[in-house]
Amino acid sequence: MTDERTLDLLEAKIEELRQLNAIDGMDLSKEIARLEEKLAVLRQDLYSNLTDWERVRIARHPKRPYALDYIASVFSDFYELRGDRIVGDDRALVAGLARLDGRPVALLGQQKGRTTEENKERFFGMTRPQGYRKAKRLMDLAERFGFPLVSLIDTSGAYPGVESEELNIGGAIAENLETMAGLRVPTVAVIIGEGGSGGALAIGLADRVLMLEDAIYSVITPEGAAAILWKDKERAREAATALQMTAPHLLNLGLIDGVIPEPLGGAHKNPAVTSAALKEALVRHVNELSAIRLDQLLAARYQRYRNVGRYTTRAADASRGAP
């Protein structure tokens, strides 16, 4: 069984040989080529048949590029706007104006931290009411000036805490949903890592919903579902599979519009390649949406969300459901 550590060891070995090759003038190029070939095969083998649980792990990988990484690599002139104008500024949701291929857009990004310090500041990427209300400000601003709205989603969920409840986090999410449902500009949302339930959807009710290949999007975390439905947190793997939370599953179910390819092993293996793919997709979708007349755009958005769900109609039967 190949695992990530084997690949890392092999990679280190190749690097070592390369250095020897350079220093001593001895010809190790054949050996290096052989190992590189082996590495490629193993990598293909390991990453091309990812289980749903492995995708969950990649989506949460601590080295995975975060919103600010993509904001720096995909957009230009990011101009951050802060604060909800009422309570404070949520660092777990960054917002601002930026240029996408030269065009001004309003930008929302859910931001995790890498260090303990950063995570303290950014509440482990869990958005609070202050963040949702800042997002609402940006939505309104986008509409007022005709900027397309781009959301980069990456959160395990809205922040559960006393202050969140005191500040009506549910109401803040509901208000964002209502705003996005009627927003009179094109909207694109991309799940770049974790799409954690209502905390993600709150900035994700968009005309186009895309996912990076190894991102996940779910009504509940696999751990949460395992605890509630299996009464056993350890069964998160099963829950991850049952919930069909990966990009290929959700594309297959018709719930998202596109999957943006990631390099083998995940975005962190080659952030530049991932950024290029993300940029290409964003530019294409924003351009497509901008060419659609506003009334048609809004009608299509309405139909999309009005019709989501799977049910069967039964014949009327007056005896059931009557008090």
Partner: protein, 280 residues
């Protein structure tokens, strides 16, 4: 100071077995009370005021004018879009709950009148998989709103829900988007939406349609909040205030307009709706 001890939420006994006896013992005061009196009193103990669980059918009956309830023609059942199996198959769970409750899913909708004012009323039912919102609940709320727009009536939703229906995965989460999208039609048509929050109104229902009422009324004894108590306690590792996520907490923090006793809900709704009759 037990005299002033605030009772938290009303108690919910969802697994009531059908029982043909004429009398019941109140779990709170111990008084033996005549069941028909309890039912006529919106399932509130006539002796001590304790609230007993009220099914969606009982709520419909206690709120609408007698004989005015018209359920919508079509019955909807979930497709189980993920073929979901946890400790048991979702399909089985649904079939069993349907048999037990006489409901197709966690909501009843229909037309009716409250003190002569025509309305469309949706009542969620906690007995049906925790009142959770999946494809059927989302579709029924949408149809209820569309009917209200077509008939030019106000819409009332009485929520009793733990949140999204986990077993339908992303289809459930997107019912939040769906109901909110359709809710806008009422506003565009100038028709009122009164949201009534009962025990419990939480998760995906609280964070979507239920929080978007023109008027939000909480029933006394309601639980109102986004994240569950246990989740929050685990996150912050501390005890929560006793009245956390009660109707008084929600009122104090500006999240709801009014708190109403269940016995007064019908009168309250008529009063509120009265302002909007012929408003536009």
């Amino acid at each position: 100071m037990s005299l002033f001890k605030e009772r938290q939420y009303l108690r919910v006994h969802v697994d009531r077995e059908p029982d043909d006896s004429l009398w019941m013992k109140c779990k709170s005061c111990g008084e033996l009370v005549f069941k028909r009196r309890v039912r006529e009193n919106s399932n509130v103990c006539p002796s001590c005021g304790e609230y007993f669980f009220q099914t969606s059918q009982e709520r419909m009956e206690s709120i609408l004018d007698p004989g005015t309830y018209e359920p919508f023609g079509e019955r909807l059942v979930t497709d189980d879009p993920l073929s979901f199996v946890d400790s048991r198959a979702y399909r089985e769970r649904v079939a069993e709950t349907q048999a037990k409750t006489g409901l197709d899913d966690a909501i009843l909708i229909g037309r009716g009148a409250i003190e002569g004012i025509p309305v469309v009323l949706g009542v969620m039912d906690f007995r049906f998989i925790g009142g959770s919102m999946g494809s059927v609940v989302g579709e029924q709320i949408s149809r209820a709103i569309e009917a209200a727009v077509a008939d030019r009536r106000g819409f009332i939703l009485i929520s009793s829900s733990g949140g999204a229906r986990i077993q339908e995965g992303m289809f459930s989460l997107l019912q939040m988007a769906k109901t909110v999208t359709v809710r806008r039609r009422l506003a565009e048509a100038g028709l009122p939406f009164v949201s009534v929050m009962t025990y419990p109104t939480s998760g995906g229902v609280e964070a979507s349609i239920a929080s978007l009422g023109d008027i939000i009324i909480a029933e006394k004894g309601a639980m109102i909040g986004f994240a569950g108590r246990r989740v929050i306690e685990q996150t912050i590792a501390e005890e929560l205030p006793a009245h956390f996520q009660t109707e008084s907490f929600a009122l104090e923090h500006g999240q709801i307009d009014r708190v109403v006793r269940r016995e007064d809900l019908r009168t309250e709704l008529a009063l509120a709706l009265g302002f909007f009759v012929g408003a536009r």
